[in-house]
């Protein structure tokens, strides 16, 4: 439950009205050249992609060097092995492939003399029922137009643990925020969930697209840890660390086998 986040939001609003922020110059270390694996496989037939990059120093421009020449394979529990080809530098893809719900997939990446292995299972899909918008009670307004908040609606299946991740685009631009939730407090309910964010202000007329992913528990923990670190830190957050990955030996990134479904709403 996002109780802590609610308090943090309220606090932020109140505290930020008296406080002051400024950009500062910090001397930060340089632990770059670590492998970053971002592997995804979905239940929708199409191109499945694994991206290999390296991390870079904080002070550098955001250009992440691709890792080329790696051997990348995805196998399933019944023994099928799919080889991914490097279509562009660092992007390893396979076309016309669909993952199957309930199936566990294993990603194998061999590069730089090391082999990395990760396992993830596509959960049973949950249907994203609808999207609605409403005036953001915390958002205020601009030129008489209220800021809007997007709400997702779905029926959570009773008796099983479900985890969800959302990705939001406003007029084609991805919102820089992480949205994940599980059903610890909502199991079996018809759920309405507000996707609160502070990156892009949404007004009437904007076109909002939401992708809903049903993800397995290790991937949920990965995103949840990342989400809690991205909270602005008002009211305090945990000591930040690299989120717990499902890749062995541990490196940066994750491998997620998930379902996917998207809906688009024109905000009224």
């Amino acid at each position: 439950m996002k109780n802590n986040n609610l308090i943090i939001i309220i606090l932020s609003v109140i505290i930020l009205t008296v406080s002051c922020t400024k950009v500062i110059d910090l001397k930060l270390g340089n632990a770059s050249d670590q492998l970053v694996i971002e592997g995804n496989i979905t239940n929708v037939k199409g191109t499945q992609t694994v991206i290999l990059t390296k991390n870079i120093p904080f002070s550098s421009p955001n250009n992440y060097p691709p890792v080329t020449g790696a051997t990348v394979k995805i196998s399933d529990q019944t023994g099928n092995i799919y080889s991914l080809a490097e279509s562009t530098p660092g992007n390893y893809t396979i076309a016309n492939m669909a993952g199957i719900q309930g199936t566990a997939y294993t990603l194998t990446v061999a590069t730089g003399g090391q082999t990395y292995i990760a396992r993830s299972t596509i959960p049973v899909p949950v249907i994203l029922d609808s999207l609605t918008d409403k005036n953001d009670p915390l958002g205020g307004s601009s030129n008489g137009n209220n800021k809007k908040l997007i709400t997702v609606h779905y029926q959570d299946p009773a008796g099983i643990a479900n985890q969800y991740r959302y990705i939001m685009w406003v007029n084609g631009v991805q919102v820089k925020d992480i949205f994940v939730e599980d059903d610890e407090f909502t199991d079996g309910r018809y759920v309405s969930s507000d996707l609160m964010e502070s990156d892009i202000d949404i007004y009437a007329g904007d076109k909002v697209t939401i992708e809903m992913q049903c993800i397995d528990e290790p991937v949920y923990k990965y995103w949840f840890a990342l989400e809690s670190q991205q909270t602005d830190g008002i009211g305090g957050s945990v000591a930040p660390a690299n989120p717990p990955t499902n890749i062995l030996p541990a490196t940066l990134g994750y491998f997620s086998a998930h379902t996917t479904q998207s809906l688009t709403l024109t905000v009224k």
């Binding site: 439950m1 406080s19 009670p137 990705i167 000591a239 660390a241 989120p243």
Partner: protein, 774 residues
């Protein structure tokens, strides 16, 4: 005969009354103007230097000495010393009234030397704050604050701006036992840490133990902050209060039954949200943000043997946002105590104590409404006895039984809500303890205070208890019936301290103590969010244990006008608790699966120079320290600096009384920044710039610096009333101290990242309060 048996033989000999006939002098020490009992006043016979004793928490004292004529000296900081000749030919009761000193007159050093407690007492690692100092130290928005002021003392670190959490000798903030009239206060902060729960109008005495904990205290590792409420004026009915920018307070006190008893009621309410109403921002405008608290106390002196005290505290914080979300939280405590004097040497106090901390969070949104509540309730029965057996032995012994009930989380919602109703099983347990200690004046040079505390933890059913492995997976689960024993722990805690007086103005001291802790706070946010969840030691969580050794040199100058002390300490910590990544504790039935366990160590040097009296008084305190933790799950089991590790911590406080009407004060602090984890690299995940981290707490926030000024103007004397103005300026030099530092994509230079510092009070904040008294 070996050394140990020699020691025992000497001890036994010293207990037995020698052939001489001895008599006992006892009584109560009080303030002459208000009848308030004085805690920690020094009472001694000039002729027997080691006869010195201090009045206890109820003002009671007892001295035993051979038949003779003596000069009785009674002194208390800020009061005129009394010197009285007495003929001790039989056991006698003498009640003593001391008058408050007028600091202006006190330019000539009085003939009776002020007390040199800090030299003679074996107790070390203890600090006592005088309420007049607390009242004069400048603070944020003029709300004088006990917790803010104690962080200006050596070895006690502030949690940073906007945080009343404090860290004693490297211990975590939940390792402080905070007592208000003996009742534990679980969450000592208001408004998420900007103010403390203690209204200084209602407080008589503040004592903090950093080391060498006396055996009568237990249950927390790092410190005991013992706060005693005022009893109420026994002579006159008075009303006093203050009107400030953000808060107002009112106190009413007076005698009951012509001075046989007294009462006090003190209340405080903030109204920051009234300012919010002026805001143009509709969200801020529609928010509520305030706290209130109420202290009440009454006492009745039945006869010289029996006095009854009843006291209570109730406080609540409320934050709400425009029919959207609301949260409120607070403590309530109650204490019923009976002082009974069995005889002139044996003093008893029986306490029945109640303490509760609870919070509610509510969402009023359509389809997303819920109400989550959580609370901890203690009922505590305590019996403490003080037995001044002979002139050189003072025993303290007693028992303490605490029953805890923890309701970790309860969620209710409407039928149309997204949320289920959930009730997490309650947890029940007993914390029992028995202790014995002896304050032994071996010679006029050597004094030792030694004791033992036996503490027991019993975790009881009903409920289902899971046992988790290191990865948080359930490996066993067992259901227990009501009252069935789930897990028990027994710990023996030795306490020892000794002082050797080299000269009248010069002593060395050493101490060792072990403390254990069976109630643990789970809250992984760094500042005081109200969602505190407490858990008891269990099948998964072992009692936390701390062993501390310390040594110190104490030196007074100029007839005790100046006090200097230096202490060295080293502390070992076992069974410390930290949280796994992404842990949540709200209404979580499996909260113990999210914990990881480790150890810690803390060591440091404290220097403290204080000028106690005179028109100009104040202190300089400096601490050099190191605090490190080690967890198998973090940084490969290597020691890393704890967040509160603070290499340098300096405080300078000065108070100057210019004339009868004006008093000026100033304080300056400098502290090394918190140890924090900053990114050492970045990468892209899911279209988002993401930061990578290396060592835990491998960086430092910039140091915290601040200079504050305060002034008090006393109104002209009136027969019927008295008034005064308090002015303060917080952060005079506009230092911008970091509250948080965050990292994000740059808003100005595309395709780069930047670090952003948020400061809460980067500009000077003036405030004014008008105080009155009838």
């Amino acid at each position: 005969m070996n050394k140990l048996s020699l020691l025992i033989a000497i001890m036994l000999a010293s207990f037995s009354a020698f052939a001489q006939t001895t008599f006992t002098l006892n009584g109560t020490v009080k303030d002459a103007a208000t009848g308030e009992t004085l805690i920690g006043a020094t009472i001694r016979f000039r002729e027997i230097p080691q006869s010195g004793t201090a009045s206890n928490a109820y003002g009671f004292y007892s001295i035993t000495a051979p038949q003779a004529q003596y000069t009785l000296l009674v002194s208390y900081s800020g009061y005129e010393t009394i010197s009285q000749t007495i003929e001790l030919t039989k056991s006698t009761t003498i009640n003593i009234s001391l008058s408050a000193k007028n600091e202006l007159k006190e330019v000539v050093i009085s003939a009776n030397r002020p007390n040199n407690d800090q030299i003679a007492s074996p107790q070390m690692g203890v600090e006592k704050l005088n309420m007049s100092q607390i009242n004069n130290v400048p603070v944020l928005l003029g709300e004088k604050d006990v917790l803010k002021t104690i962080t200006l003392l050596p070895g006690i670190q502030s949690g940073g701006e906007g945080n009343t959490g404090f860290f004693v000798r490297g211990g975590a903030s939940d390792q402080n036992l905070i007592l208000l009239d003996e009742a534990p206060v679980y969450n000592a902060s208001h408004l998420l840490g900007f103010f403390s729960t203690f209204n200084s109008d209602a407080i008589k005495d503040v004592t903090i133990y950093k080391g060498g904990m006396p055996a009568e205290y237990g249950g927390r590792l790092s410190s005991v902050l013992d706060i005693k409420m005022l009893d109420g004026n026994k002579k006159d009915f008075t009303i006093e209060g203050g009107l400030g920018l953000i808060a107002s307070r009112l106190k009413i006190e007076g005698p009951i039954d012509s001075g046989k008893g007294s009462f006090l009621i003190s209340a405080r309410r903030t109204y920051i949200d009234l300012f919010a109403k002026l805001s143009k921002d509709s969200v801020v405008k529609g928010s509520s943000l305030y706290f209130y608290d109420l202290n009440a106390k009454g006492n009745y002196h039945f006869n010289d043997q029996n006095t009854l005290y009843i006291s209570g505290y109730f406080g609540r914080d409320v934050i709400g946002l425009k029919n959207t979300f609301g949260t409120d939280w607070g403590n309530s405590t109650g204490t019923l105590r009976l002082n009974h004097l069995f005889n002139a040497k044996l003093f008893s106090n029986t306490s029945l104590i109640f303490s509760n901390y609870s919070y509610d969070i509510q969402s009023f949104l359509t389809n997303e409404d819920f109400k989550a509540t959580s609370e901890i309730t203690d009922v505590n029965l305590k019996e403490d006895l003080q037995y001044a057996i002979t002139g050189s032995h003072r025993l303290k012994f007693g028992v303490d039984i605490i029953h805890h009930t923890i309701a970790p989380g309860n969620i209710t919602s409407s039928a149309g809500s997204s949320f289920n109703d959930i009730s997490v099983e309650h947890r029940y347990g007993f914390e029992n303890a028995a202790y014995l200690s002896d304050d032994w004046h071996i010679s006029d040079k050597l004094t030792i205070l030694y004791g033992l505390r036996l503490s027991e933890m019993l975790l009881l059913g009903p409920g289902t208890f899971n046992t988790y492995d290191a990865d948080g997976n359930t490996i066993a689960s067992k259901t227990y019936s009501t009252g069935a024993l789930v897990k028990s722990y027994l710990n023996l805690e030795p306490r020892f301290s000794a002082s050797y007086q080299l000269t009248d103005e010069n002593s060395v001291k050493a101490s060792y103590n072990r403390n254990t802790q069976n109630i643990h706070l789970l809250n992984n946010s760094t500042s005081g969010t109200p969602t505190d969840l407490y858990v008891m030691s269990s099948n998964n969580i072992k009692p936390e244990i701390a062993d501390q050794v310390s040594a110190g040199w104490f030196r007074n100058f100029d007839d005790n006008l100046f006090e200097f002390s230096t202490e060295l300490y080293y502390k070992w910590l076992q069974n410390q608790i930290d949280y796994k990544d992404g842990a949540t504790f709200v209404a979580n039935a499996n909260e113990e699966s999210q914990l990881t366990y480790g150890s810690g160590r803390a060591y440091g040097l404290e220097l403290y120079l204080k000028k106690k009296y005179g028109r100009f008084n104040g202190w300089i305190s400096y601490t050099l320290s190191r605090t490190e933790d080690k967890f198998a799950a973090i940084d490969n089991d290597r020691y890393f600096p704890a967040t509160q590790d603070r290499t340098h911590d300096l405080s300078v406080v000065g108070i100057y009384k210019l004339n009868k009407r004006w008093t000026f004060s100033g304080s300056f602090i400098y502290a090394t920044g918190n140890a924090v984890s900053y990114p050492t690299g970045k990468y892209n995940i899911g279209g988002l710039t993401t930061f990578s981290y290396s060592d835990r707490n491998g960086y430092r926030e910039p140091p915290e610096k601040r200079l504050d000024f305060g002034a008090t103007l006393q109104g002209k004397e009136h027969r019927k009333y008295h008034s005064s103005w308090t002015f303060s300026i917080y952060n005079v030099l506009s230092y911008s101290n970091p509250y948080t530092i965050t990292f994000r994509d740059s808003k100005t230079v595309p395709n780069t990242t930047e670090a952003v510092e948020t400061s809460l009070f980067p500009k000077p904040i003036p405030s004014v309060t008008w105080n009155f008294k009838f």
